[in-house]
């Protein structure tokens, strides 16, 4: 694998040609060309149709000099492949929430080539079509994050059903998490085999847990997923939202990069993680609504906190908001590359 990619070099804490940048959810609703496509095709169909999913993945790369592509898909897509009956309304709604051992045991293992072939085909199409040899990041949802939707049945602010499930049925929760960890490990590995050059676990909701429960429940499943994905030989990224109390817990994960939200100071994150980890983040998605000069100051502040470019991948601290002006993203890319 060539490390002339600034993104891949930074993942490995090597000196990149410039400070790399991509944007979580960069392929999505803030782009008019995405909305034009979505006006014709529903979300689930988009994720399951390789040429359309590849097209959406590539849209931001045509507009901006992003240093990585991120597969257009949904964290729930592999669960559909495992037979979970769910719809997007627009958040995922699971028809039969999973709360019993019988339901957990009935979840089959994921066999990606059989269950989600369209995802792997999308990966191949993106690899064939990516401009400037831009590397592609494959991804999966964090096991606890997936459990939040499976147990709760629908999105919620607190994910109370999943969180109380941990306390009320700890053995069942652990069994479900192990199964999800293994499935997501296989899913990531298959994406790399199909051509993804880095792999990322999106842990949107494990930051709702106290460190004690995170360490007891969420983390072992993450370790299972990463252990399988590690066999791919590509950089592994673990993003944890709301992780300010969890940095010590994730410091010894076998991940190359830890992604964090906008609320944490990257200098402190690096201190707490130690020198063995690269970091990814962490501009506030709201900062893209600032006037140009203020956005520039915010970018400078993130870069100053992150320190030297080896080991820092610039990103937002969370997915870009759908009402973000696309021209703000153009300015962001300019500013980050200017600071190099």
């Amino acid at each position: 694998m060539s490390e002339t990619s600034a993104f891949l070099a930074a993942c490995r804490r090597q000196r990149p040609s410039h400070r790399p940048l991509w944007v979580m959810r960069q392929a999505g609703r803030y782009l008019p060309e995405y909305r034009a496509l979505r006006a014709k095709v529903d979300f689930a169909t988009l994720t399951r149709t390789p040429d359309l999913a590849a097209e959406v993945t590539l849209q931001p790369l045509r507009r901006y000099e992003m240093d990585a592509a991120i597969l257009f898909s949904d964290i729930m897509t592999p669960l559909q492949g495992m037979g979970v009956d769910l719809t997007f309304e627009p958040g995922p709604v699971v028809r039969q929430p999973i709360r019993t051992d019988a339901q957990i045991d009935a979840l089959p293992a994921l066999v990606p080539e059989r269950d989600v072939p369209f995802v792997l085909e999308t990966v191949r199409l993106v690899r064939a079509g990516a401009p400037r040899g831009t590397p592609l990041i494959g991804f999966a949802g964090g096991p606890f994050t997936l459990m939040c939707y499976l147990v709760g049945g629908r999105p919620s602010k607190e994910f109370g059903a999943a969180r109380s499930f941990l306390y009320a049925q700890p053995d069942s929760a652990q069994r479900l998490l192990e199964r999800l960890g293994d499935a997501m490990g296989e899913y990531l590995l298959a994406q790399a085999t199909a051509g993804a050059q880095a792999l990322m676990l999106f842990e949107s909701w494990a930051g709702l847990l106290a460190a004690r429960e995170f360490t007891r429940f969420a983390l072992p499943a993450v370790r299972r997923a990463l252990a399988i994905a590690r066999r791919a030989g590509v950089p592994l990224i673990y993003y944890v939202n709301q992780g300010a109390a969890l940095m010590e817990a994730v410091a010894d994960l076998d991940a190359d990069v830890i992604g964090v939200d906008w609320r944490m100071d990257l200098a402190e994150v690096r201190r707490r993680l130690g020198p063995g980890k690269a970091v990814q983040g962490n501009l506030d998605p709201a900062a893209l609504f600032a006037p140009a000069e203020e956005l520039k100051r915010q970018v400078a502040a993130v870069i100053a906190a992150a320190g030297p470019a080896p080991g820092h991948i610039f990103n937002l601290g969370h997915g870009i908001w759908q009402d973000t002006p696309p021209e703000a993203v153009a300015r962001l890319v300019d500013y980050v590359h200017e600071y190099t």
Copy 2:
């Protein structure tokens, strides 16, 4: 003021007779007697009818040996008193979101005896009726938290409208926050004058901000509120949800107690706040769904992390969930008092 109250002693970091305990949102939907009342009266009417609001405030004190009462009201109630047109559906929905300087300047100052006399009458009734001389906590919403609803118009997971408003219209945001800070200061002071023996600012959403924006926007308004409330001569509590990256920022607030959510380790919180602050919290609300023995372990872990009783008020890290079994709260009270 007598400090024979364990709660008031702990607020002042004096040695209490036992480790005091109350539960955020203890007057509310998890109690069958509350639901019975709500079946007959809508929420807004309940908050505006002193004998009913006092009755609801006292309900948990009849069931459990709580060491404090918390006024039954809503953080949006004083804004209604200032003329903001809003409804509870069940979260607050503001008919005309506030986003212009003209709207901000049109917000009148709050004159509590004129604008929310029913709240002050509720305070007087609770003081007259509280069993065992249980002290009453008056409260208000944190200025940024209120701004989230005023600018956004309705509850949301990210409060993106308010957060982008900070970046897009920083001067307007500051003006609105100052106005809210002053109003909440007067509101708290009036509650103390009516008889509340401690005052608390609930900052549910300022923890969505990075420390830089929290310090620039949210904190100055909190200081204004606390400076006015301080004249009451009663303990002041500042609760900040999702505050793991904000402890250094709040350490020099003129508050006697800092309340934190369940995600933070209280030993670390005390270390970061220094010896000048008491702390309140921080059991995970989800832990009330655990079997008895596990709940006991969780209580023990919070107490062990909090350290000696002077300066620690036991509480949940967030409001109690409406589906919590009432008997779990009874066990919680027993366990906390047992550990004394």
